[in-house]
């Protein structure tokens, strides 16, 4: 199966060169010492270092706002992989952006359930508002100069696991629940104007790059983010009804004995 990978030969052997160049010829200087230290920390989390590739690509996005050629080369050199091996992974996953992202990434769920409750209308409204010259903004396109304050990248997303709160959207992966085209438009206008509206569930907004740093597993200086709200009324509805009506699971015995050790066969 898929075990060939980096098993044979040195990863940057001659012949591994691509049109984009090899890890040796791409300048990875954009990644500073702190980032390199973090990359090594990620690799140390796993029994085998290659497992660090997905979080490391998040780390790369926290620096550049997307996965550039330099980002691919950086991961390759950190993990002793070939450029092609990293590139193959970076292009497989939706969350790794091939072009520079805006200060904020707005993801609108347009899967069936959100769509029927307004997700499609929300996406259309935002695309129209963020577009220019009479053309709506396309999927994964950015309004404003990518990375500049107030720039917004728009995408339609698949199911975001918040269907009881539909229709939902996310800004930098923080949840804004129970949206309407109007509320979503106000939200995006505020982002464009440099505002940081409070998510329904999640931490106070920062930007796409900070979110990517946290996805890579680094929270220094943002420890209080964990206390952002998480339970919407919908989340705890069942628990609340049970509490009000004093419905409980059957009582547990004081001491539940464990089964005897099974006999060896």
């Amino acid at each position: 199966m898929n075990t060939a990978g980096a098993a044979g030969g040195p990863p940057s052997a001659p012949g591994a060169a691509t049109a984009q160049g090899t890890p040796d010829t791409i300048d990875t200087g954009v990644f500073d010492e702190e980032t390199r230290t973090r990359a090594k920390e990620i690799a140390a989390r796993y029994p085998r270092s290659r497992s660090a590739l997905l979080p490391m690509l998040h780390l790369v996005q926290s620096v550049e706002g997307h996965v550039s050629q330099a980002g691919v080369a950086f991961c390759a050199e950190q993990l002793d992989l070939s450029f092609a091996e990293v590139s193959a992974v970076a292009t497989f996953y939706t969350m790794y952006k091939r072009r520079p992202c805006g200060e904020h990434l707005v993801s609108v769920c347009t899967n069936t359930l959100c769509a029927v409750l307004g997700g499609d209308a929300i996406y259309r409204r935002l695309a129209t508002y963020l577009g220019s010259d009479g053309r709506p903004l396309g999927h994964e396109e950015t309004a404003g100069e990518p990375g500049a304050p107030g720039s917004v990248t728009l995408e339609h997303a698949e199911c975001l696991a918040a269907c009881d709160l539909a229709p939902v959207l996310q800004v930098n992966y923080e949840f804004f629940d129970n949206q309407t085209p109007e509320s979503a438009l106000e939200l995006v206008k505020e982002l464009r104007a440099g505002g940081r509206p409070q998510p329904t569930r999640g931490a106070p907004l920062t930007d796409f790059r900070q979110a990517e740093l946290q996805l890579a597993g680094f929270f220094t200086g943002r420890e209080s983010d964990v206390d952002g709200p998480s339970a919407a009324p919908e989340t705890v509805r069942g628990a609340r009804i049970a509490n009000e009506r004093q419905w409980t699971a059957p009582p547990m015995p004081d001491e539940a004995p464990l089964p005897d050790l099974p006999e060896k066969k």
Partner: protein, 452 residues
């Protein structure tokens, strides 16, 4: 709001005397969700947290595997495989490292139970991880959580840190001699990674594509070593089984599908949300809890457990939603993601939206799935755009027939479920869609003919 239920207190029976009778809702996994700062170790410990772990670490690992077998706990990720049996498949004394991988890549359309669980009560998952790892003799466990749920990832990271600091993770846990490291691993936006072998490839730093089975993960999983892959809700159930015992767990649900289950009700209902009920609840019961259909508009169709489970209709209101009941009625329990749609929704449109999802998420490895989902979308879009013919319905079914059972993993199978079930119950809607557009179609053909 403090402790909402107190299963450890026998003075609070909650139910009548009949041991089988249970309340309509049975908060077990959700019982801490109303507590203030429920995600912290402090709250968790106040509410019996890590008590099960102490009991488990004092036992022999094989006793725990036997306990889980006796409890009848079945996988909560959709397939319903018996958890104890899965743990028992791990070869012992084989000289290889063993691994536990928690599948937290919640992405099946409609599914929204694991993310709130991990946000509200991450320590129950961690306690379950330590017990499960001890049982299967694993010293490394990973929580593979989808990348889009950042707040959930934060909570997990924080909980893991707290657990290390308190000695529930790391070296010589609670003086037992057992070591365990846990890593929280953020995915990057690929539904396919919810498939266990694709998840393992992804966790190894590769493209998330399913592996051919056998070998199964139990013998060659992560890094080609014996691995248990379990869903979040499954592992989070483990501490309660240890505390309450198998008979207690079996007092809820049905004989073959015991225990409580989080049903996620979404869509056209008055009060969507998470409802933890004994396995075997029906949509009629759940709808009552959820306040009925929104605005009184009648039910048209629903999914019992995500979009990959064949649709149900209002004829299925009393189907018991357990593994056997859903299957006997022609669907699957799946993830108990109950998406409810009213009469205003076009079935072919809903099916097209879901099919677009499967096409986007097909990993591309297997030709029937990769090409089939592509053509399914083309045909459905054409039908919705008013260019369909009745023959398209047969073509859709024919393509589904060529996908089902012909790909490595269940994504392809799942992609056919909405289509075949929709045509089974709502064929007339597809036919009407085509017939309604016939005059326009003929006019186009006439116009083209005249252009010669």
């Amino acid at each position: 709001m403090t402790n909402t239920a107190n299963p450890g207190n026998p003075g609070n029976p909650g139910n009548g005397g009949d041991g089988r009778a249970t309340s309509p809702l049975t908060p077990v996994l959700t019982r801490r969700w109303l507590s203030p700062r429920s995600w912290t170790l402090r709250t968790y410990e106040q509410l019996e947290g890590y008590v099960a772990l102490r009991r488990a670490l004092a036992a022999h690992p094989d006793q725990l595997i036997q306990l889980i077998k006796d409890s009848g706990l079945r996988g909560r990720g959709g397939a319903g495989f018996p958890t104890g049996l899965k743990w028992g498949f791990i070869p012992q004394n084989d000289g290889k490292p063993h691994y536990l991988v928690v599948n937290a890549d919640e992405g099946e359309p409609g599914t929204c139970k694991d993310v709130p669980l991990m946000m509200a009560d991450p320590h129950s998952l961690i306690e379950g991880i330590v017990i499960a790892s001890y049982a299967i003799r694993a010293n490394f466990a990973a929580i593979y959580v989808r990348g889009e749920v950042l707040h959930c990832i934060r909570r997990l990271h924080a909980a893991v840190r707290e657990a290390y600091d308190a000695g529930y993770l790391g070296r010589n846990i609670l003086g037992s001699g057992f070591d365990l490291d846990v890593v929280v691993h953020a995915g990057a936006g690929a539904y396919i990674c919810g498939e266990e072998t694709a998840l393992l490839d992804s966790l190894e730093g590769k493209r998330g594509q399913p592996r051919l089975k056998p070998p199964f993960p139990a013998t060659e999983g992560l890094y080609a070593s014996p691995t248990v892959v379990n869903n979040v809700e499954t592992i989070a159930s483990v501490p309660y089984v240890v505390l309450g015992g198998a008979p207690w767990f079996r007092a809820m649900g049905t004989e073959k599908s015991p225990g409580p289950k989080i049903y996620s009700i979404s869509g056209h209902v008055e009060r969507p949300g998470q409802y933890e009920a004994p396995m075997g609840a029906t949509l009629r019961e759940l709808l009552e809890l959820a306040g009925g259909m929104k605005g009184g508009v009648p039910l048209k169709f629903w999914t019992p457990g995500g979009s990959s489970t064949p649709l149900f209709t209002r004829e299925h209101l009393d189907v018991p939603l357990d593994f056997e009941g859903a299957a006997a009625a022609g669907s699957m329990l799946g993830t108990t993601a109950v998406q409810v749609f009213n009469e205003t929704v076009s079935v072919p449109w809903a099916v097209m939206k879901w099919t677009e999802f499967y096409k986007h998420e097909s990993c591309g490895k297997c030709t029937p799935c990769r090409e089939g989902t592509y053509w399914l979308v083309q045909i459905l879009r054409r039908m919705l755009a008013g260019e369909g013919t009745p023959a398209d319905i047969e073509t859709l079914l024919d393509i589904c027939d060529n996908i089902l059972g012909r790909s490595f993993c269940a994504l392809g199978d799942g992609a056919t479920s909405p289509i075949t079930s929709a045509i089974r119950y709502f064929r007339h809607e597809f036919v009407e869609l085509c017939e309604r557009n016939q005059p326009a179609r003929q006019a186009t053909e006439t116009a083209l003919a005249g252009a010669h």
